[in-house]
Amino acid sequence: MKKLTIILLFITLCGYAQIDYKGLVKNLEDITFETDIKTHFKGIPFKEEYSQIEFSDERFLRFYDIIVDKVSFENNWGGRTMTMKLFNEKSDYNNIKTKLIELYGEPEINERSSSIFYEWKTDKVNTTLRIKTEEGIFTEFDELVVTLIQ
């Protein structure tokens, strides 16, 4: 056992100290109104301006397994707003829409000439998804906003 420890120690000393990237990944759907944001995201760099905290390292941000470009949190009178920017992948759009329908049912839809606005409302959470379109086809994400009601 001692010898095994020596080998492991030797191998460790020969390598570089690494960051536990997988351990830092956060699933944004786990955030609640009560979550202490700075504690929950400990170790991940952030920017803070007034009452808004923003995380922008996509290596650590997921929303139902979809990679999130950046997320900002802000508490206001209605609750906690979580605003996400996503990468413009059509597959991400299809997956997130499917997931939200599975969770909250069919959304209210407001379709315009170059955008579609989806809204899912429950007692505890409001979710809005805004995308840009060309002839009704997804071109890019605008934003995904989850409001956790106090």
Binding site: I6, Y16, Q18, S56, D57, D69, F87
Partner: protein, 419 residues
């Protein structure tokens, strides 16, 4: 048998490690100065005599195999007198590997810039500034690197200063409860003098935030605020909407220590607000606490001139030790009261003095000035009457001025700069 297996495994580990190290011979991550870089080029030159490498060149491009940064192979190194630029190859996820190698040593930070096909990071430490550009070739972003993405790492090595004044951060102690007392004011149509512990820290100001830690020497403090009409356009009385309100806040936890309620200001007589406040800190500076009462010192004016003259002479003579002795206590106490372990404030201040030494060729000291006595005569501040400031350094293209709070330690006959 167990021993045999143990030694086989150990030898295998050594072999693997040694092979790797043999292939990667020239490690730029170990370089900490421009002189180190020259040393590494000389080594590369010696071990690669067939290659055309000039270790004396101020712009040398090297493409020797075996160059690496913390284990990540480097395809090309451009070494100049001002910076080193390392470029990785476009294979084997080199951009991802280099980013992670730097993060392992320097920590995670936010992107400094982001474009569709390029991402940029920047790290600063005492010895070097690093900029990493990640060029996306077949990758999409940080969570989806491509194997062909490559990186360019630019390193600017900084001069190393051994003078204690440039290394104050190494002496700073940190504590669990690092209170930072700040006075926040809100007002309309008035100006105010602020006196903390019998020290006038500002006069006729309309600023809204004042750091109080620099004027605290014990757990009990006092503050006096004299609110006066703004006297704009010849008016001598307060405007009918004039008001004043203030709070002393511990910025570490946003706790309000003392508050002055919003008060309407009327008439033309200054209004005085005065209160004691709890100024508990985990560290109290010696500051002027052992200072002599200077109110009856007949030679005080001469001492003030002598101090600024000494400063002027030290600066022009580039006497680093003398400058260190003049400024160290002030700079140390102020950085300690800010509980700031960052290397940048002391380094930046020292580089300001170096630039004055470099560019200034003469100094002028005020001979006619008013002396303001604070803290029972232990602390003085002077207001130059015949010059714009107490000392003016004249340089090519710019002037540099200084004016400080002074005290005289008991038993000494010389004044010292303290704030």
């Amino acid at each position: 048998m167990k021993n045999v297996i143990f030694y086989i495994v150990l030898l295998a580990s050594i072999s693997i490690t040694s092979c790797g190290k043999d292939a990667l011979k020239y490690d730029f991550s170990k370089i900490k100065s421009h002189a180190d870089t020259k040393g590494l080029i000389a080594k590369i030159q010696l071990e690669n005599e067939d290659e055309d490498i000039d270790s004396t060149s101020s712009f040398e491009q090297i493409t020797i195999k075996g160059m690496h940064y913390a284990g990540v192979p480097i395809k090309e190194a451009l070494i100049t007198d001002n910076y080193t630029l390392l470029t990785t190859d476009t294979l084997n996820f080199s951009a991802k590997n280099l980013l992670e190698a730097i993060e392992a040593n320097n920590g995670l930070i936010n992107l400094t810039d982001s474009y569709s096909d390029r991402l940029e990071f920047g790290w600063k430490d005492e010895t070097e500034d690093k900029t990493l550009k990640i060029n996306l070739v077949n990758g999409k972003h940080l969570a989806a690197f491509g194997d062909k993405d490559y990186a360019e790492l630019t390193i600017n090595y900084k001069p190393i200063y051994t003078i204690p004044l440039a290394n104050i951060h190494k002496e700073i102690k940190t504590f669990d409860n690092q209170a930072k007392y700040v006075l926040n004011t809100r007002s309309y149509d008035c100006v105010y003098d602020i006196i903390v512990n019998d020290i006038i820290i500002t006069e006729s100001s309309n600023e809204t935030e004042f750091n109080l830690n620099n004027y605290i020497v014990g757990p009990d403090s006092s503050i006096k605020i004299i609110v006066k009409p703004r006297q704009k356009d010849g008016a001598k009385a307060f405007n009918e909407q004039a008001y004043f309100t203030a709070a002393i806040v511990n910025n570490e936890n946003e706790e309000i220590i003392e508050a002055i309620e919003k008060t309407a200001l009327k008439g033309s007589t200054p209004i005085v607000f005065q209160t004691d406040f709890n100024s508990t800190l985990p560290y109290y500076p010696k500051a002027w606490t052992d200072g002599a009462d200077l109110r009856n010192d007949e030679r005080l004016k001469d001492k003030v001139i002598a101090l600024y003259d000494k400063l002027g002479k030290a600066m022009l003579a580039k006497d680093e030790q003398a400058l260190n002795d003049i400024f160290y206590q002030k700079d140390f106490e102020m950085q300690q009261l800010d509980f700031d372990t960052n290397f940048e404030p002391a380094r930046s201040e020292w580089e300001t003095y170096l630039s004055v030494q470099l560019y200034c060729y003469k100094y002028t000291v005020a001979n006619d000035f008013d002396i303001e006595f604070n803290s029972g005569g232990k602390l003085i501040y002077t207001y130059a009457k015949d010059k714009s400031d107490m000392i003016i350094f004249t340089g090519k293209g710019h002037d540099f001025t200084l004016n400080h709070y002074l005290y005289q330690p008991k038993g000494s006959n010389e004044l010292k700069i303290i704030r």
